[in-house]
Symmetry: C2
Subunit: 320 residues, 2 copies
């Protein structure tokens, strides 16, 4: 199976290492890598872990035309506001009749129904396990392990930065100090407002709702409230009462509609949904036949995001 | 797909209802039911939800010979000490070239490697999703969603009765009173020592280790300690310190060996592993490539156990 990577940051490098370490059991070959910054690398027999980049291809169209992979993996830096350029890359790959895997939640949060439909018509697979919870089985769990089920709703505190910030505030720091701590840990971006104001959670909420509830949502359609209104004193008072603040993502069906919101909730510190710290996560799915089930992921990192891509790739290789 | 049930208690009835409710989407037909108590019912066109039982077949052998199902579902009452008669039933079905699903953890805890090998040679499927965590994706999650992974260990507080007992003790009741409460809730058996002394947890531990770590274990090989040594006072003291007792199942690799134990652990009440109450469960899998991931199930009941059988059945129907 010939694989082309669009983007080659930390996740891409971890993915290339993972493929290399499993090359005897899984005959996947990275034949081309395209990056905006370093240029393009191609080798139909497979690229080394540290490829030499030549001049960039003129376009993704040209890149895929030349490299002719079976599967394209879209892992460019996320533009969360509109899901581009990832959406464009994915459409181009589908147009070429190439299966696509992405770790970018933007396309799922902004354009899932359209991409699913394009892929269906082109008879290619479109997969995205790593877009929520960094590669832990979420979408593939529902796809493979929960047949015939209807998902009535979901609940999860899915934003790492806000969790670290609340933790810092419960120890007496300000929100700004908490943000700096999260940035120092490499969890928060330079502009943390995307996390603090709930946009990251809204993107994840829209993505989950689009896939599991056919919601045709975008992040802007999620009722959204961040954690800025809480003072350090309030968070410390809550902590003394055995409570905490969690920026919760929720989706639920209401008749034909799907209601989505992201907002801070006051939870007991013993609540399952409040117990995962930092990048750890719990996502609960509320179903008709299987009650409430969920996935837990403890302190995932880029290796786990890379593994999610790998699990999608194995799945595609099996079904082709 | 023609299905025969061996056993028809609460899980069997819930399963029959589930199949009936999904009969348009999934063409599964229960053609025969065998019970030790009520006798045998057969109808090649499919049995009604309240079948009329005639005289019992002489043996499972004869029952399967006459009913000729594609899939046999083994859901007789569990004899946890040796896994019989379920193991015998499963062997008989495999011998007839029939796929088998069981909700009985006994066969997986006592004889997994042998049954897996028999099924492999007979080229039939052998599935058991409902044996741990009542139908939530555990075995099928690893099978379908975690390709190429090695499971290095697992952790979970998987016994409901002991959780209810510890909760009652933290409120000032004795262990015996806690057991009565668990019995009143329908969670504990008449003889609760199986739960309190860790045998139920040991069976689940052996089952997980056999499937995930090829451990060739039995419940007796699990290092086992129950919760009897704790007094109400101790549990109340722990609760005042924000701690609790959890009867934990753990498996880990140590070189070529697999070390298995069940013992009470003192956890913070904010520990993820301490937050699921009653029949709710968290199971964490420690893996090489995907770090620590897990499954959560909130207050599952017989409907969820029945769903686990259904998910196995759909899987078998797909692969055949």
């Amino acid at each position: 199976v010939k694989v082309a990577l669009i983007g080659y940051g930390n996740v891409g490098k971890a993915f290339a290492k993972l493929l290399y370490s499993r090359r005897n059991a899984y005959p996947f070959r990275i034949v081309a890598i395209h990056t905006a910054r370093h240029g393009t690398a191609c080798a139909s027999k497979g690229l080394p872990l540290t490829p030499e980049f030549a001049a960039a291809a003129d376009s993704i169209d040209q890149f895929l035309e030349v490299s002719r992979p079976d599967v394209a993996i879209e892992i460019t830096p996320l533009n969360p506001e509109d899901g581009e350029p990832a959406i464009g890359h994915i459409k181009t790959a589908i147009k070429h009749g190439i299966h696509v895997i992405t770790a970018n939640k933007g396309p799922i949060a902004h354009a899932y129904a359209e991409l699913r439909e394009l892929a269906r018509r082109a008879q290619v697979e479109f997969r995205f396990e790593s877009t929520v919870m960094d590669g832990a089985p979420v979408f593939n769990m529902v796809r493979h392990c929960l047949p015939g089920i209807q998902i009535m709703g979901f609940t999860g505190c899915l934003n790492s930065t806000s969790k670290l910030v609340v933790e810092a505030m419960s120890r007496g720091f300000t929100l700004e100090e908490g943000v700096k701590e999260a940035q120092a840990q490499g969890v928060a971006e330079a502009d943390a407002s995307f996390d603090i104001d709930g946009w990251d959670s809204a993107a994840k909420t829209a993505a989950l709702a689009n896939v599991f509830m056919d919601a045709h949502a975008t992040p802007a359609m999620v009722e959204r409230e961040g954690i800025r209104k809480f003072t350090t004193e309030q968070v410390m008072d809550l902590a003394r009462e055995g409570k905490t603040v969690a920026l919760m993502s929720r989706g639920e069906r209401a008749g034909e509609k799907v209601i989505l919101h992201v907002k801070p909730e006051i939870l007991a510190v013993t609540d399952l949904l409040a117990t995962t710290r930092g990048t750890s996560n719990v996502l609960l799915l509320h179903t008709d036949l299987m009650g409430t089930v969920g996935t837990v992921s403890i302190e995932p990192g880029v290796e786990q995001t890379a593994y999610g891509l790998f699990s999608d790739l194995v799945d595609i290789a099996k079904s082709v």
